[in-house]
């Protein structure tokens, strides 16, 4: 598709620019490397909010209510017996999906 408002030599130029960007160094591979180039105090990583110091409250992974218990098999938090039954009977894939939401990426064996 060609547009009338685009530079006709852009397609060739684009490849050139891209190769130049890659050949310069590997500095643009990730954000951390991009930031290290200009050594100013105000950069993308420095303005990130720091981790919280308060202890995280536990909520039931399935229903969302406050969780008092943790299942040692599936590592899920749960609030009552109904949810416990559900967790134990559900397939491993769903248990892993619940864990992934919370940010745990471990895999359950057996």
């Amino acid at each position: 598709m060609s547009y009338s408002f685009k530079n006709s030599s852009w397609q060739a130029r684009k490849k050139e620019l891209k190769s130049r960007r890659q050949s310069q160094s590997r500095k643009f591979n990730n954000i951390k490397a991009q930031v290290q180039i200009n050594n100013s105090a105000f950069n993308y990583l420095s303005i990130e909010a720091p981790p919280s110091l308060k202890p995280a409250k536990r909520y039931c992974d399935v229903t969302g209510f406050e969780a008092k218990y943790k299942d040692p098999v599936t590592q899920l938090y749960y609030c009552d017996a109904i949810v416990f039954n559900y967790i134990r009977n559900c397939p491993k894939a769903t248990a892993e999906a619940y864990l992934n939401i919370r940010g745990c990426t471990q895999k359950l064996i057996s």
Binding site: N7, R13, P51, K54, T94, R102
Partner: protein, 658 residues
């Protein structure tokens, strides 16, 4: 916001084009028009068709969470290809530019502390692809605060909370000067909230399929920020829990309101889509089935006749052989079995041959024959037991009919028990099958172990197969399930059909047996939104809910206003699309009041979504003379390039610190 072609044609070359690159939507338009002319989602979906293979703007459906491309990653422009396609779309809609260039000055937005790569991509594209005369770069959060007057803007003192689609920024501005060292960013936003909402609902209802518009509508209209999250959770649990908890809190003399209004759970019915089958189709299917049946019967009859003729030929041949030597017992045996098969002799004739040694006394037998006799005895007894069992089963079937008529309640109970047993077995088998699919399961690991053992070369003697038990290993290796699964399903159908006929409230009973408060595993065609209504928006205050290890919004505001003027807390402004969520300002003020002594005032910007674009428009219309001073020209770009720092200009909306 209207798409008017006449308006564009009249736009002259020196009218600036304003583009607000947002992570969720891109807003673009001429500075002369009232609102943004083009508003598009900033996602691209690879659209594959048999005829044309081209990229199109994303079609929004369930696949959008998996299969989309966006130029943005954590609010940073990283993918130049996607951005170019979006820019093409925007300029085509705006009908801007001819003869290989777009001859309008540009005002573009970027996020706080963008990396060099993001700026490079944008500038290279603008200057080399579209050959734009000049580009001004500004921060979106700062443009959204700009009203009319630059002098007023340079005197204000306020704390801007920009709630974007992928990130949240907290920006303190004191006397018109942005305190760059105190800016804080949280790596989540509206998209994360929507994803969280979708995932939690979809996981609880695996039998339903949700579309993107459905989820987006629910997320927009039903979700809100809870003003007191703990109390709200209690109120979802029920009145008893809630009042007990509230009394406890009031004893501790904490902040709480009697007038707090709570959200109620919402139940959404989802229509079951049934396939409508016309009468003609049914007829055609019936005819087809009958035709198939006739064909099958014919083929079976033919095969039977073929077999019969074969057997008869064999029999004739055997009888001819028998005439030559009369004393061959084996031949006699064969002939009798063939006769039994053909129906020429009764079945008992075989028994006499089989158990011929039973009635002979032991004295007349050789030791090998004695062994045979013992074997025949055992076989005879087993055959008798089998016969008895068959008779008993036939009687039972007769009795069951009697049982059904005489004691219907007991019969029903028996049927229910049978059903439960079958359901359990089916569930267990399903679990096993799912385990087989995943690589890490214990079943698969064992399987691989046995395979490795079988394939090992270091065995001295290969005695595999000497014992019949060796072959049983293969049974544990096969992945295919036996046909028992289908059989039990068929049985279940039969029993349920019978139960439906006998018991009028069978379905209600089944539902009651698995019913629970949370509606887990009930497979209803209904969605219950209770905690989901507040949980997905709570991530701003408790980011650990979705695994982001950062502070919440309240702590961020505390941190960024530390050591600065207390006036900041009286001028907190919420902008960005996230500011539209219900209850977010009340929640913030409630949480901040308990932290500070000073008065706190929070307001939502008049137009949170289009505020950035309108701010750009006001600036460009009122201060046209400053525009050239603040922007990077094509000559600058050709002379200096994007590598050096000098090319970027400093201005009230800029991103650059000395």
């Amino acid at each position: 916001m209207n798409y008017m072609r006449d308006n564009y044609a009249s736009a002259k070359n020196d009218v600036p084009i304003l583009i607000d690159y947002g992570a969720s939507t891109i807003k673009a338009g001429y500075a002369t028009s009232q609102g943004p002319d083009v508003v598009i989602r900033s996602y691209i979906n690879k659209f594959k068709d048999s005829n044309t293979q081209s990229n199109q703007i994303a079609q929004w459906d369930t696949d959008v969470f998996k299969n989309y491309r966006s130029p943005f990653e954590k609010n940073l422009i990283q993918h130049s290809g996607a951005l170019e396609q979006l820019n093409d779309f925007v300029f085509e809609r705006l009908q801007a530019g001819k003869h290989g260039r777009v001859n309008h000055p540009m005002i573009l937005t970027e996020c706080f502390a963008t990396t060099d790569l993001a700026r490079m991509i944008v500038l290279e594209q603008m200057f080399e692809c579209y050959q734009v005369p000049s580009v001004m770069l500004g921060v979106d959060a700062l443009f959204s605060v700009f009203q009319d007057d630059l002098e007023a803007y340079l005197k204000q003192t306020q704390l801007v909370v920009h709630l974007g689609d992928q990130t949240v920024h907290v920006v303190p501005i004191v006397n018109g000067q942005v305190i760059y060292s105190n800016i804080k960013r949280l790596n989540l936003g509206g998209l994360n909230s929507l994803k969280y909402f979708y995932q939690t609902i979809q996981l609880r209802h695996p039998h339903l399929k949700f579309t993107y518009p459905q989820i987006d509508y629910w997320h927009k209209s039903y979700t809100a920020v809870a003003i007191d999250y703990q109390l709200q959770l209690r109120s979802f649990l029920g009145p008893q829990q809630y009042f007990g908890y509230r009394d406890k809190i009031s004893e501790q003399n904490r902040f709480y309101d009697d007038d707090l209004s709570f959200l109620d759970p919402i139940y959404i019915d989802i229509p079951i889509v049934q396939k409508i089958v016309s009468a003609e189709d049914l007829k055609r299917k019936d005819e087809n089935r009958q035709r198939m049946r006739v064909r099958l019967q014919e083929s079976i009859q033919q095969s039977r006749q073929n077999k019969k003729s074969q057997l008869e030929q064999q029999l004739v041949a055997l009888q001819q052989e028998l005439e030559t030597d009369q004393n061959n017992d084996e031949l006699k045996k064969k002939i009798i079995t063939l006769q039994v098969k053909l129906g020429q002799a009764p079945k008992e004739a075989l028994d006499e041959l089989k158990y011929n040694l039973l009635n002979v006394p032991d004295d007349k037998l050789t030791p090998s024959q004695l062994n045979q006799k013992r074997y025949q005895k055992v076989m005879y007894e087993q055959a008798l037991i089998k016969k008895q069992k068959n008779q008993e089963f036939k009687q039972l079937q007769k009795d069951a009919n009697k049982f059904k008529l005489e004691e219907p309640e007991k019969y029903l109970q028996m049927l229910y028990e049978k059903r439960d047993r079958i359901v359990l077995s089916i569930q267990e088998r399903k679990k096993l099958q799912q385990e087989m699919n995943s690589r890490n399961s214990r079943f698969n690991q064992k399987r691989i172990q046995t395979l490795a053992f079988l394939g090992a070369d270091d065995k001295v003697e290969d005695d595999f197969g000497k014992d019949d038990k060796d072959w049983e290993i293969y049974r544990s290796v096969t992945k295919e399930m036996d046909s028992a699964d289908e059989k039990s399903k068929y049985k279940l159908q039969e029993i349920e059909q019978e139960l439906k006929d006998l018991d009028p409230d069978f379905e209600i009973k089944i539902l009651k047996s698995i019913a629970n408060d949370h509606q887990l595993g009930m497979n209803l065609s209904q969605v219950q939104l209770s905690v989901d209504r507040v949980r997905c928006q709570e991530i701003y205050f408790q980011p650990h809910l979705i695994g982001v290890e950062q502070q919440g919004l309240v702590d961020m505001i505390k941190l960024s206003s530390k050591g600065l003027d207390k006036l900041l807390l009286q001028n907190i402004v919420l902008t960005g699309g996230g500011a539209k969520t219900q209850g977010i300002s009340q929640r913030l003020s409630k949480d901040l009041i308990s932290e500070y002594d000073c008065p706190i005032a929070i307001k939502v910007a008049p137009d949170p979504v289009f505020g950035t674009w309108l701010g750009m428009k006001n600036f460009s219309n009122k201060y046209q003379s400053m525009l050239s001073q603040f922007s990077i020209t094509l000559d600058d770009y050709n002379e200096i390039g994007t590598q050096k720092w000098e090319i970027f200009k400093q201005h009230p909306f800029s991103n650059i610190v000395d």
